[in-house]
Symmetry: C2
Subunit: 129 residues, 2 copies
């Protein structure tokens, strides 16, 4: 299982590198595809301290892939959102990861694959990561 993790991790790392991103930066982009997210919420999602989020967001913002926008309700808070370019990179990276994983799982039969997916779903459980 740990070896499977390394394999999947490498797929993700490689996909990130192809888009000239670090894995952490790619992870950040992936968390924004469903819409803007606040800094504190990002820290919770990525298991990072708030100062780490600041730095990570700073660097990705400098590359023009995301933007900060002040919250209208709470003037302390900021929302982080994908730029057009950021969305393109996020979607491309996601596609590449999916494609590579499908290639990885491609050898096993369809029924086995569905069985595997349901088993994994059982392990992961209902709570979102």
């Amino acid at each position: 299982m740990v070896r499977l993790t390394h394999l999947v991790q490498r797929v993700f790392d490689d996909a990130s590198r192809h888009h000239d991103l670090t894995p952490q930066q790619a992870q950040l982009l992936c968390r924004l595809v469903d819409g803007p997210v606040g800094m504190t919420e990002l820290g919770r999602m990525l298991h990072l301290e708030k100062s780490s989020v600041t730095g990570l967001v700073d660097r990705v913002e400098l590359r023009g892939l995301i933007t900060r926008a002040r919250s209208t309700e709470d003037r302390r808070a900021w929302y982080v959102a994908l730029t057009e370019q950021g969305e393109r990179v996020a979607v491309d990276t996601h596609h590449e990861v999916i494609a590579q994983l499908e290639k990885l799982v491609g050898d096993i039969s369809t029924s086995d694959r569905e069985r595997l997916i349901s088993l994994i779903a059982g392990i992961i459980g209902p709570q979102p990561s």
Copy 2:
């Protein structure tokens, strides 16, 4: 599958932290449990440049968990080996990861678990990571 990877990764990270190690340092120790390994070979195993291996080994050596020993055949080469303390930490960390993973997989039935393991083995393939 990516979410499963995050889960397993977190198990490994937590086990490392409990022994006051970074995940990379724990990874290094795990690669040495079967015996001493050369620097170049370590880089290949961990997918690191040789200079990165030098730094990682330096830091873990400073903690007294590993030692460098010169090769007898090739006087350019060094072998990295676990110290007694390093072996203890490596084994403990490995046990903790196994225990947590078993707890994670504990909810699914025995037959399902064996099925999962064989499926994963099929994905990983024969070549060692």
